[in-house]
Amino acid sequence: MFLTISTRGDAAHPATDLGYLLHKHPGKAQKFSTSHGTAHVFYPEADEQRCTAALLLEIDTVALVRRGKGKGRGGAPDAALAQYVNDRPYAASSLLAVALSGVFSSALRGVCAARPELPQRARPLRVEVPALPARGGPGLVHRLFEPLGWQATAEPVPLDTEFPAWGDSRYVRLVLESERLTLAEALRHLYVLLPVLDDAKHYWVSSDEVDKLLRAGEGWLPGHPEQKLITSRYLSRRWSLTRQATERLELVRLAEADDSEVEEIDNAVAEETETEEKPTPLAVRRREAILAALRESGAARVLDLGCGQGQLVQELLKDTRFTEIVGLDVSARALTIAARRLKLDRMGERQASRVRLLQGSLAYTDKRLKGYDAAVLSEVIEHLDLPRLPALEYAVFGAARPRTVLVTTPNAEYNVRWETLPAGHVRHGDHRFEWTREEFRAWAARVAELHGYDVGFAPVGPDDPEVGPPTQMALFHRNDTGNDTEKEAKAA
């Protein structure tokens, strides 16, 4: 990975002052050892008019992969860093930022012992980074650098010139130019913004990362229009590290076995929720509608099938009429998050005895699910491929057979009302289908008929006269339950 910093000058202010500022002699090539390889500093040009310093970091990929893991076990927590095929040796990532701060530490602090007046002076600067990973593309590059007084050019790098159809890579060739910044400011900008643009989910983060950000951002970050994005991207790397270490490894390996990206498989927990309105998001409306229907059905023992991160379970717990609540999900990751959300390990025994979280799958029948009053399938069916839906139907309506089943799913007709949703798109990347009201009703009627349920329908969210509500709900009631209640009445 590589970057250059250039300046112009004249007899009064020679460009070679850059050598003083950086504390590196323009006549020498120097090397410094950093934690991930060797950093080299040298000057391709250095005279009165023009002076360019180059920072080149040689990364040792083999060491990167083999760092701190068991022999041959593929145990490194961080999937992307554990690849020998890695852009880190070439792209200007957070590793380069770390090297920058190490090699040019006094320049970064604006200190120059020999010429104390130099660092305070703004001078013409040109920074060139030939391969900068930029999540957010050239647009974000401009939004990040231009408010700071840079004139930025970000040229996208094509993925592969032999395959133009693949489009551009995530890298840009970045050129920054400014007449009115000091070198220290420039370096601090790079130190923070290179990793922000890289936005890799993997990075070793030390506990004093917040302090580092505050120090490097002093004087420019507080007023920056993208402050929120910068801060959250810079710091978000911290928890993803631990998360990956504990929960994803098995799935990472299955993805690798199939030449897939981990994100293709490990996506049960949505990074961003669906297109939502404010002030009352649709998810809240949905939970309200479900709770109302459950209360009306008189259910006390309730299954939340596909409970995800446990938001509905949390609501159900607040109402003591629900004496037994079971949240089931196929994603172990989702259940871990749900358990954290519900604070299961700190809950009192009486409360805790009302709730259970289970890993399970509706592609299989499951004896644990028999004998409940009601089951909720909220935004679940659309995450299944259509050919596999009959297995779910059998597992829920044929085998578990709760008295009441509530099913919610998006109403595809409503999608035209989402301004941010391009035409013809589904609301969530993992939705395998989205049904119109008619399609949903036909499905529900067939399932009800086949398994001995009666079914009714209710809208969730504003019921648009033309396209219907954003979410549709079907309410199934087992049609032999009348007998049950009679029998129970007689027995009593």
Partner: protein, 859 residues
């Protein structure tokens, strides 16, 4: 219970029973138990007292001690192990709890009473330091209670009661183990199991004839087994009884009772029964029979055993079906279950009891063959089959040949009796209703394989597999196999190489494999194709409506999102199979094929963009500037040391990397440019082809490729090598060098014999199954030098990198490859043998779960 004082009383005790020793403190129960039973069979209350309180005589701990005792006894009985309870058990209440326990686990309770004079007991206790101060009145009370109990023991529920009086009789007694009546595991048949006859004598005669019986005797020594319901409704129940009784009497048949015999037997004993459901016909037909015959029938019916466990435990025959926990058990509940089956307690619109679909839940190892519920067609469901095809209602009379698992039937001559309710439209479970249960796959498991014994699956791996299988995989019915991972060759020491075929040849030579085939490795994506002759064949064999097969990846995901594309590829494959004449030649309607689908860029597009091409793009962007800057610095006279040269090498490595991945990418348009290279036919109807030698495999595949008119199929180049012949080995190495030198991915070296065991048996190893030595690797990959840049990074060939990368550890990968291979073979065997879906799925799921084990992904 005779009291005659004879030497050596013989006490028969059933092999699976709960034996309750009854006797006062000091009567010698523990000594008796030690002498006659295995130490692990005996649980004593004193021992349990010690477990919970550290003091074997702490009476305050009695309640907890008995909880523990009952718990242990329950676990043993559930596992089918005889259990002896060594406690005084002189009080009726304590015995009642034990009898309940025996009933709960459906085993016989047996009592052995040790009636010893008070003085003897007192003397013995006095000799024991821990009981020396036991009050005399305790023993007196024990003996009083024991004497009072003696008369009631059988009425309390003990099925056998042995009373031994005095020390002499006790010391002289011997215990003999008796088998249960239903345990005929020593009989191996072959059997012809015959469904519900219901007085259809003529149909029985013609079925027996079709099965090859001549006057009730089979020339090959086969044994007929009747599943009951011989009588009622039909035209000639006496005729059927006469035939069956004579065959059973002469040892050519076995018979279990049906509910109809049971009711008729009660009638014959003079009990009051309703003459409904066809009983009236039987009674009328028997009018003309002699009293002698009637008495014979009564004795016959009286002696029928509720169910039989046959053929080493692989086969259970009973009338109405039986869950696994009742197999070989003995209780009233088991008998009534065997006769009437399980019902939900509801009645249907015809007033008949609604039967519980027990077969859907069945997961047992033994095949259960039964009748009772008329079905239009006999078909297997979860290793169970109902043979009642409604002969008396005008259906068919059906038999099952065992172990051949062939069905033989004859049509009814006419409708002899109108059914109360119409026959169910389909067999239990039906086409859609072959549900897989979470218990088939979830949690820590051990899958039994015929090639490598038990293969363990860990809980966290099963959990990951559950997620991927549920969310991404295709319908499990169309997913009968997943390919195992493959180990690379041992690391090479040859200069500049990480992998080199010499090591692979040497490894097979060490394993005693002489002839190997080197198969060109196609750099695409693994694809398994299940292709059926047509949609009807797919529906018939795999129970799916619509698709004619499947095409899936190595984790069971559909290869193409668009079903139309899948069907188009299957259609092309199908026409090649048809034109090559393989349907008939292999006598099959379906074919499972292991293949590689190209180009790699078709499926790995995400990975290419995100990782491979990205690295190429980044390196391509960075080097011109970096080299230019270094050259400029050098031109200024700055000593840049070796840096410039090193960067030039790195740039060249990066360019080589880009060239390496580009070879496996090309633009496709629809299916133009898409190629499928089959390299193994895995299974066809009734037969796993995994053991078919690779030369024969490749010959079949060559014919497929020849008959493909659509340019979809690609051949696999190959070279045969003799691992013991240096010339041949050199030719193999040259072939590989030439192929990889032109950018080929490499090759896979396989024993020509396909499934091969090493010559040196090492049965202690986890990988070994049978006694013929250890399974050898089914294939070893040798990847090309340039190709490995995609795996180990652009600069892996630099000497210092190579030196470090040679430190790689292959053992886990090899073990994983063998375990997955064994599971894959098992899935194919289960599929070929027509085992239930859950059995096939269990092995397939195991492969997926193991794929999530922690192994260096670059191997």
């Amino acid at each position: 219970m005779t009291e005659t004082q004879q030497e050596g009383r013989v006490l028969p005790v059933t092999d699976l029973s709960l034996v309750v020793l009854v006797g006062a403190s000091g009567s010698g129960k523990s000594t008796f138990a030690r002498r006659h039973f295995k130490p692990t069979e005996v649980i004593s209350s004193d021992f349990c007292r010690g477990l919970v309180s550290d003091d074997e005589n702490d009476q305050g701990a009695t309640r907890d001690a008995f909880d523990v005792l009952h718990y242990i006894a329950g676990k043993r009985l559930a596992a089918g192990r005889r259990t002896v309870v060594d406690a005084t058990s002189v009080q009726q209440d304590s015995r009642r709890q034990l009898i309940e326990l025996a009933k709960k686990y459906d085993v016989l309770p047996v009592a052995i009473v040790l009636d010893v004079p008070e003085e003897v007991c007192a003397e013995r206790n006095a000799a024991r330091t821990d009981r020396a101060d036991m009050p005399r009145r305790v023993i007196q009370r024990h003996i009083r209670e024991l004497r009072r109990s003696l008369r009631h023991l059988e009425r309390e529920g003990f099925r056998k009661v042995h009373v031994l009086r005095g020390t002499e009789q006790i010391d002289g007694a011997t215990v003999v183990t008796e088998k249960r009546f239903n345990d005929l595991t020593h009989l191996t048949g072959p059997f012809d199991i015959i469904g519900d006859i219901h007085g259809c004598s003529a149909e029985l005669q013609s079925l027996l004839g079709k099965l090859g019986y001549v006057d009730g005797v089979h020339p090959d020594g086969r044994t007929a087994v009747f599943v009951g319901d011989l009588v009622d409704r039909g035209p000639d129940s006496p005729g059927v009884l006469r035939r069956v009784m004579s065959m059973v009497g002469s040892g050519h048949a076995l018979c279990v009772p049906g509910n109809h015999e049971n009711k008729y037997g009660r009638y014959l004993k003079g009990r009051k029964v309703q003459h409904t459901h066809g009983l009236a016909e039987t009674i009328a037909q028997m009018e003309g029979e002699s009293e002698e015959f009637k008495a014979e029938v009564r004795r016959f019916l009286d002696g029928l055993v509720s169910h039989y466990v046959l053929d080493g435990g692989k086969l259970v025959v009973c009338h109405a079906g039986l869950p696994e926990k009742y197999h070989g058990r003995t209780s009233g509940r088991v008998r009534s279950h065997a006769l009437y089956g399980d019902t939900t307690g509801e009645t249907d619109e015809f007033g008949l009891p609604v039967r519980y679909p027990w077969a859907e839940d069945y997961r047992g190892r033994a095949a259960v063959v039964y009748g009772h519920t008329p079905v239009p067609q006999a078909s297997w469901l979860n290793n169970t089959i109902c043979l009642d095809t409604g002969a008396v209602f005008g259906g068919r009379l059906t038999a099952l040949r065992w172990p051949e698992r062939e069905l033989v039937d004859v049509p009814a001559e006419r409708v002899w009796y109108e059914p109360t309710r119409p026959l169910r439209a389909e067999a239990p479970g039906g086409l859609d209703g072959r549900p897989l249960d979470l218990a088939d796959v979830y949690g820590r498991r051990a899958v039994e394989t015929r090639h490598a014994g038990m293969v363990a699956v860990r809980e966290e791996n099963a959990a990951a597999a559950l997620e991927v299988m549920s969310r991404f995989a295709i319908d499990p019915r169309l997913l009968p196999y997943l390919p195992p991972t493959m180990a690379p060759t041992a690391t090479s020491r040859v200069d500049g190489y990480l992998e080199h075929p010499e090591e692979a040849f040497a490894q097979y030579a060490r394993d005693g494999v002489e002839r190997v085939v080197c198969e060109e490795k196609h750099m695409g994506s693994r694809a398994v194709a299940l292709v059926c002759r047509d949609a009807e064949a797919a529906a018939k064999r795999f129970g799916v409506q619509g698709p004619t097969g499947s095409l899936y990846t190595r984790t069971g995901r559909p290869f193409f999102d668009d079903e139309q594309v899948t069907e188009e590829i299957l259609a092309r494959l199908r026409s090649a199979v048809t034109d090559a004449g393989l349907w008939d030649e292999l006598a099959t309607d379906w074919l499972l094929v292991d293949a590689e689908l190209m180009p790699w860029s078709l499926k790995a597009a995400g990975l290419l963009r995100g990782q491979y091409a990205a690295v190429g793009a980044a390196s391509g962007a960075v080097f011109p500037g970096a080299l230019g800057a270094l050259e400029a610095a050098a031109a200024r006279g700055v000593d840049v040391g070796g840096l410039l040269e090193r960067q030039r090498e790195r740039a060249a490595d990066a360019a080589a990397f880009t060239a390496a991945y580009r070879r496996y990418c090309w633009i496709t348009d629809g299916l133009d440019g898409v190629h499928l290279a089959p390299f193994q036919l895995l299974a066809v109807q009734g037969r796993s082809l995994a053991a078919l030698p690779h030369d024969e495999q490749l010959a079949l595949i060559d014919r497929l490729v020849e008959h493909d008119g659509t340019r979809l199929l690609r051949t696999t180049r190959r070279l045969y090598v003799d691992t013991g012949d240096p010339e041949s080995v050199r030719a193999g190495v040259d072939w590989w060098l030439e192929m990889t030198g032109r950018g080929g991915e490499g090759m896979v070296v396989k024993p020509v014999g396909a499934v091969v065991r090493s010559g040196s048996p090492r049965s202690s190893e986890a990988e070994s199954g049978g006694g013929e030595g250890r399974l050898v690797q089914p294939g070893i990959k040798c990847r090309g030098r340039e190709y490995l840049r995609i795996i180990y990074g652009p600069e892996y060939t630099r000497p210092d990198n190579l030196a470090r990368l040679r430190q790689r550890f292959l053992n886990h990968k090899r073990s994983l490859a063998l375990r997955e291979y064994a599971l894959g073979l098992e899935a194919l065997d289960r599929l070929a043998e027509g085992e239930p879906l859950w059995r096939v799925h269990e092995a397939v799921f195991g492969v997926l779960a193991l794929e999530s084990e922690p192994v260096d992904p670059r191997l």
